[in-house]
């Protein structure tokens, strides 16, 4: 271990807050099994007692529908729901609370913009600029919008080192470009993209920018005003919160000009038999009964992250990432994707020569290590690197250096399982 591996976090102490991390896997009558090593945080994260308890408290004491009842319980529930919105506003330093739209997740946040803004603003020949490293959730909604409107899709290429090739920006951006949609952090490569630089170039060309912050908001500070983006989307379940809750932040003037996405209750001010008037922000984009308890749970997760400190979380993940890179570099046949730890978030995607990623994940599971294997909802990016699939270990505040070592040791076992003949039978 070097000085660089020192983390400002006491992960061992934090782990006591996460009941699921005490799980043992594959135990039998005569075998105590192995401890769970949860390294699938880019897919979804685990929950501290504080979040679980906040959810239990609502269900036991304060639950009713929001914004509707005159009764006491509905007032309690509405207060908590709106307090959660204020916590999100402060978390991303948004100017106004009514610019915070609660959605079921990042995917629906992006779909909301791709449907509402694109349908109202795009005409044939307009261009949408994406990147080759996007998650399917930041590709498919724009493909659908392009199909509806006649707009054209363009993509910023990815270098062999796993960075966006920004030298192509001047040729890709033009007065035809209406929207640029980019991930702040790649969910496969971990690359931290230069979003501010992209925003400045896009705005200079007259285009808007949507930032997919699903992989960045849980790990580093998000300041939508400093970022100067036009829309920012992220999910609660990747930042210690429950599933089923996400956020769309948008500039007020853009959100006000956009038509509602889904129709139903709460998003209306008045309904006649032949039409309706939409509600004010943010209700205009929150049709139907919202994910009330999930939003309150997200508020509790934001409180927890605030106490730990996102700067410390980032430093901690950097230490884990450096250690993982060093250990994997020692394993014959292991190949890392993406840039150096200093240029990325706590995501380590890799392949092992001669072993399919699904088999890697299966062998690691025997050791209690949970990693993701497959294309991680980024098929075009995998195609860019000539791969069908990769294995991915992704870290969060409760992971430890010891877990990284166990993960690397399990990978060595994976090599042993699949390279027996090269070991036992000299050619």
């Amino acid at each position: 271990m070097t000085a660089l591996d020192r983390s400002p976090l006491d992960a061992a102490a934090l782990r006591a807050d996460f009941p699921i991390l005490a799980t043992r896997l594959h135990a039998t009558a005569d075998d105590p099994g192995v401890p769970l090593i949860y390294l699938d945080n880019a897919a979804t994260t685990q929950h501290p007692r504080q979040v679980i308890q906040a959810i239990v408290d609502v269900y036991e004491n304060q639950y009713a529908n929001v914004h509707r009842g005159i009764h006491w319980l509905s007032e309690q529930s509405t207060d908590l729901y709106e307090q959660a919105r204020e916590k999100v506003r402060a978390f991303i330093n948004a100017p106004g609370i009514d610019e915070i739209i609660f959605t079921p997740g990042t995917t629906e946040s992006i779909n909301l913009v791709a449907r509402s803004w694109c349908d109202a603003n795009l005409k044939p020949g307009d261009e949408l600029l994406l990147t080759e490293m996007e998650h399917h959730a930041n590709l498919v909604p724009w493909q659908q919008a392009a199909a509806r409107t006649g707009a054209v899709l363009r993509h910023i290429p990815v270098t062999d080192e796993g960075q966006l090739n920004l030298s192509t920006l001047p040729s890709l951006l033009s007065e035809r470009t209406r929207m640029v949609a980019v991930a702040a952090v790649s969910n496969v490569l971990g690359t931290i993209n230069p979003v501010s630089q992209i925003v400045a170039a896009a705005h200079a060309a007259g285009a808007l920018v949507l930032v997919d912050a699903a992989q960045s908001a849980p790990h580093t500070l998000t300041d939508v005003q400093a970022l100067d983006a036009d829309f920012v989307a992220f999910s609660g379940h990747k930042m210690l919160g429950p599933s089923g809750i996400g956020v769309l932040w948008g500039r007020r003037e853009l959100l006000e000009a956009m038509p509602p996405f889904l129709g139903g209750g709460n998003m209306i001010r008045r309904v006649r038999l032949d039409g309706f008037e939409p509600n004010e922000l943010p209700a205009k984009f929150e049709a139907g009964t919202p994910p009330i308890v999930s939003a309150i749970g997200l508020g509790a997760a934001i409180d927890y992250l605030g106490r730990v400190g996102l700067a410390a979380v980032h430093e901690h993940e950097l230490a884990l990432c450096r250690h993982a890179h060093r250990r994997l570099a020692e394993i014959e046949g292991a190949r890392l994707l993406g840039p150096a730890p200093e240029q990325k978030s706590g995501i380590v995607s890799f392949t092992l020569d001669g072993v399919h990623p699904h088999d890697i994940a299966q062998v690691l599971d025997r050791h209690g290590v949970a990693v993701r294997a497959g294309h991680h909802c980024a098929m075009p990016l995998h195609k860019r690197f000539g791969l069908n699939a990769t294995a991915r270990a992704s870290f969060y505040l409760y992971n430890t250096l010891d877990e990284v070592d166990r993960f690397a040791d399990a990978l060595l076992d994976c090599r042993r399982v699949f390279h027996r003949r090269s070991i036992h039978r000299p050619i």
């Binding site: 594959h26 039998t28 075998d31 099994g33 192995v34 072993v355 399919h356 990623p357 699904h358 088999d359 299966q362 062998v363 025997r366 050791h367 294997a373 497959g374 294309h375 995998h382 069908n388 699939a389 399982v417 699949f418 027996r420 003949r421």
Partner: protein, 148 residues
């Protein structure tokens, strides 16, 4: 940790098929062939058959993918060689999982069943090179051949 376990995926029999597969390559006198993939994981399996007189004389496979998909395809082509078409057509997904042997989670059952799915389609897919190419839905039968 007890390792390997009886139900372990990477038991000797399965690894043998993965590392030293049966009839991996191309069937020299293929009359029927089909290839497909599992887009979710990128596994690919192609099956080539020489069918004569309602019987699979030779079965070969090729492909790329995880240990489960490739070893299952190897076991499958070995098992069906010499079998009648009717017998192979009656083979169910459950039969394939039983042939593979190790316990599989639903996600990995898809890997195991890829070769079986491709084989079933290959029975209906005469090659253009086949001297006996017919309509896709027809199979060679004894009326068309001088069978022993």
């Amino acid at each position: 940790m007890a390792y390997p376990r009886d139900e372990d995926l990477y038991q000797e029999r399965i690894l043998e098929h993965f590392e030293e597969p049966y009839h991996r390559g191309h069937c020299p006198l293929a009359t029927h062939a089909h290839e497909d993939d599992n887009p979710l994981c990128g596994d690919v399996v192609g099956v080539e058959l020489q069918i004569d007189c309602d019987r699979v004389c030779q079965a070969w496979f090729h492909g790329d993918g995880c240990c489960i998909s490739q070893s299952a395809a190897s076991m499958l082509v070995q098992a069906v060689e010499g079998q009648t078409i009717d017998k192979i057509k009656s083979m169910t997904a459950a039969d394939m999982l039983a042939l593979f042997g190790a316990r599989l989670t639903p996600n990995r059952q898809k890997c195991c069943l890829l070769g079986w799915r491709v084989l079933q389609a290959a029975l209906y897919s005469p090659t253009t090179a086949s001297t006996d190419a017919r309509l896709p839905n027809s199979l060679p039968n004894e009326r068309d051949h001088d069978c022993p």
